[in-house]
């Protein structure tokens, strides 16, 4: 059973089609990226999955069924627009929002203490939300999202506004959750942020799905015929290299159609060049997006 099954959903406001025939599925035990620039239709897609807004057509199945009040308890949602009751304390906020997910006070408090401990926020448990920094509030928001041990976790722009330390903390927590067989959907426009986390992804642009599949496979498919080289010494003309693109700290060598990276490596070694770094150039998600979106916009 997939954690999420989205089939041909469409949503338009006034004359603008915000989400146009988007389909994807998310397996349990994977981190799924929903990526694309601002305004691509990611948040609208998530809201339709959460049954906060209804699609004009198409259907969404969460954990094998249409979302009901009962199955809402099995998912955790962290929206992009973060909010908590400013006047309540950290613990009151967590306990109240957990109770709406069917968790009683005692288990909520125990679980909250554990999560606060792990995130280093335990000293703040009786502070009012309005006394917290933005980053701290975001960690509390994350705790609220996962406190009821949901099978599916959906996070909209999870890293926006976080400092590097908290970003790393959140990434590790997410990897932990995946290892506990949770399905996690990360929606973001900062594509490089999720590159190292996601197993599969859907890339959206202008309401449409432009790329969908396994991260590694897609990267391999978009690989350019080039290698990245950091070396010492003098690099003369090398057979098989048709272009040298200098970058900061390394050189990108574009190969002709007959030369493999393996052959190039041999030639470099034979030429007596000291190699510090040699790798097949794979494009980043950003670069893939620009390539794909560029084609679409032409």
């Amino acid at each position: 059973m997939s954690a999420v099954e989205v089939n041909h959903i469409v949503k338009s406001y006034a004359d603008k089609v915000v989400v146009n025939d988007v389909s994807f599925s998310v397996a349990q035990n994977e981190i799924f990226g929903l990526i694309g620039p601002n305004g691509a239709g990611k948040t609208t897609t998530l809201r339709m999955m959460m049954d906060i807004i209804k699609p004009d057509s198409g259907e969404v199945k969460i954990l094998g069924e249409k979302l009901t009040e009962a199955s809402k308890n099995k998912l955790g949602y962290m929206p992009e627009e973060r909010g908590l009751y400013k006047k309540l304390t950290v613990m009151e906020s967590i306990v109240y929002l957990a109770s709406l997910k069917g968790i009683d006070r005692r288990s909520a408090e125990a679980k909250a203490d554990d999560l606060l401990q792990r995130t280093g926020m335990l000293p703040a448990r009786y502070k009012k939300i309005e006394e917290l920094s933005k980053g701290m509030g975001q960690i509390i928001q994350f705790i609220v999202t996962v406190i009821h041990n949901p099978a599916l976790i959906i996070m909209d722009e999870p890293f926006s506004g976080l400092d590097p330390v908290n970003t790393e903390l959140l990434k590790n927590l997410l990897l932990d959750l995946r290892n506990q067989s949770k399905a996690i959907i990360l929606s973001t426009h900062q594509m490089n942020q999720v590159e190292e986390l996601c197993d599969r992804f859907l890339m959206m642009d202008n309401g449409r799905a432009v790329l969908y599949g396994n991260l590694k496979e897609i990267k391999a498919r978009h690989r350019s015929h080039a290698v990245i080289l950091d070396f010492e010494g003098e690099l003369g003309p090398i057979p098989g290299v048709i272009e040298k693109r200098p970058h900061k700290g390394y050189l990108e060598l574009v190969l002709d159609g007959n030369t493999t990276p393996q052959q190039l490596l041999e030639r470099l070694v034979n030429a007596g060049i000291t190699i510090n770094r040699f790798e097949v150039a794979t494009p980043s998600l950003n670069e893939i997006f620009l390539e794909v979106a560029g084609k679409n916009h032409e």
């Binding site: 809201r47 959460m50 906060i52 807004i53 009040e69 809402k72 308890n73 998912l75 949602y77 962290m78 929206p79 627009e81 973060r82 909010g83 908590l84 009751y85 400013k86 109240y96 929002l97 109770s99 709406l100 997910k101 609220v144």
Partner: protein
């Protein structure tokens, strides 16, 4: 536990703990206490002096020599205006009046006083009137007739039932006190409670909590839990006020006099009062939720909400008209119009009573409005709760209601 119950409990606690709520709950009794205190002080200061006030008069018409002793006031005769003025300047008398030679044909009396005043005091006017009529009638009719002419009417009204027996409810001032106070509390409570609902939902919208809540509960659960939770807090407030009323009335009884012992509570009032409170409250709260849904900020919501909470208070603008013309068909219309109904029906119950058919229609309309309002609110919340920053136009709202 049902999620609406959880929201109910949270909202109730959250509202009751608000500083604004506590201040308001206590403010009414405290202000009333203050008002009673001030009125005691003022009435103590202006109490009539024990000694007899002397009023001068100059009789140029002739024949006004008797009945100079008028209880707390004595009339002193002066031969000329000059001597009367001198006495006035020396403060031997507080004022004087002149009966001119042509008094019988014109009725004009000139009154001279150093004290500036808006209108002559009623006591003085009555004394002068009685003095004049007594002298005019002296020797012509009997003293009993003179006394009757001075006070020709002591009206005692007895209400009969349809079958001609003396009714148990005799109406009058004693009957309208409790309904009027209750109606006033009801209006206040409707206005404040709907403000709380608007503020609560508006804050959740502003704080972006709405999406988190809606990922756990349905819009209907959210509205019901919220409206009832804040409503229960409103009820607590009214109960506190209601408990303080008998206590305050006892304190004020020296100003109201014997009226307190005569206070009557109209039949059915208690049951109808509770029914109208609950229905009225739910109607206003549900509408407040709709207003909050389409408003971008709490402040904007309160501005818009003020318009319909005005209806709750509106019957008080026409209070004196209601007293004068209690049976006008206009009141029937407004007793059925759901926004004015709760307060107006309470007022009318105290004044003349409300026929059963009007009560039935009024209650039915309120129930239907609540059902419609709930539908409207849920729909608007769903459509607009996630729309931040700008308020939709009326046309857009209508379009979305049809399609959404």
């Amino acid at each position: 536990m049902n999620k609406a119950t959880l929201i109910f409990r949270h909202e109730f606690r959250h509202t009751v703990k608000r500083t604004g709520f506590i201040i308001l709950t206590l403010a009414l009794p405290v202000l009333a206490l203050l008002a009673i205190g001030v009125s005691h002080i003022v009435s103590g200061v202006v109490k009539p002096p024990a000694e007899v006030t002397k009023i001068g008069y100059v009789d140029e018409a002739g024949g006004f020599g008797q009945f100079t002793d008028q209880g707390s006031m004595a009339l002193v005769r002066f031969a000329t205006r000059e001597t009367a003025t001198q006495a006035l300047v020396k403060k031997d008398i507080t004022e004087y009046f002149v009966i001119p030679p042509d008094y019988l044909s014109t009725g004009v009396i000139n009154r001279y006083s150093i004290q500036r005043e808006v209108i002559p005091s009623e006591a003085t006017t009555t004394v002068i009137k009685n003095f004049l009529s007594s002298n005019l009638l002296a020797e012509k009719v009997s003293p009993d007739t003179i006394a009757r002419i001075e006070e020709p009417l002591k009206l005692v009204t007895i209400n009969l039932t349809a079958t001609g027996e003396v009714a148990s409810q005799q109406g009058g001032m004693a009957n309208i006190i409790v309904p009027s106070i209750f109606a006033m509390l009801l209006a206040l409570s409707l206005a404040f409670s709907s403000a709380y609902v608007m503020q609560g939902l508006g804050e959740e919208k502003e704080n972006r909590l709405m999406e988190i809540l809606l990922s756990s509960v349905s819009t209907r659960q959210l509205i019901i839990g919220k409206v009832l939770g804040i409503g229960a807090a409103g009820l607590v407030q009214v109960v506190v006020w209601a408990i303080s009323i008998p206590f305050l009335l006892r304190l004020a009884s020296s100003s109201i006099g014997g009226l307190l012992s005569m206070i009557q509570i109209p039949a059915n009032f208690l049951v109808l009062g509770i029914v109208y409170f609950i229905l009225g409250y739910i109607l206003f709260a549900v509408l407040a939720a709709s207003v909050a849904a389409v408003s971008a900020t709490v402040r904007e919501a309160q501005g818009l909400g003020g318009i319909f909470t005005m209806f709750a208070v509106a019957p008080f603008w026409f209070y004196s008209l209601l007293l004068l013309f209690p049976n006008s068909p206009v009141w029937v219309v407004f007793s059925i119009f759901p926004f004015t109904a709760p307060v107006l029906v309470m007022l009318r119950l105290g004044m003349t009573g409300v026929p059963a058919w009007q009560l039935a229609i009024s209650l039915a309309v309120m129930v239907l409005s609540i059902i419609g309002g709930l539908w409207l609110a849920a729909r608007l919340l769903r459509t607009y709760l996630l729309m931040y920053g700008k308020r939709p136009g009326l046309g857009e709202i209508m379009r979305n209601l049809r399609s959404g």
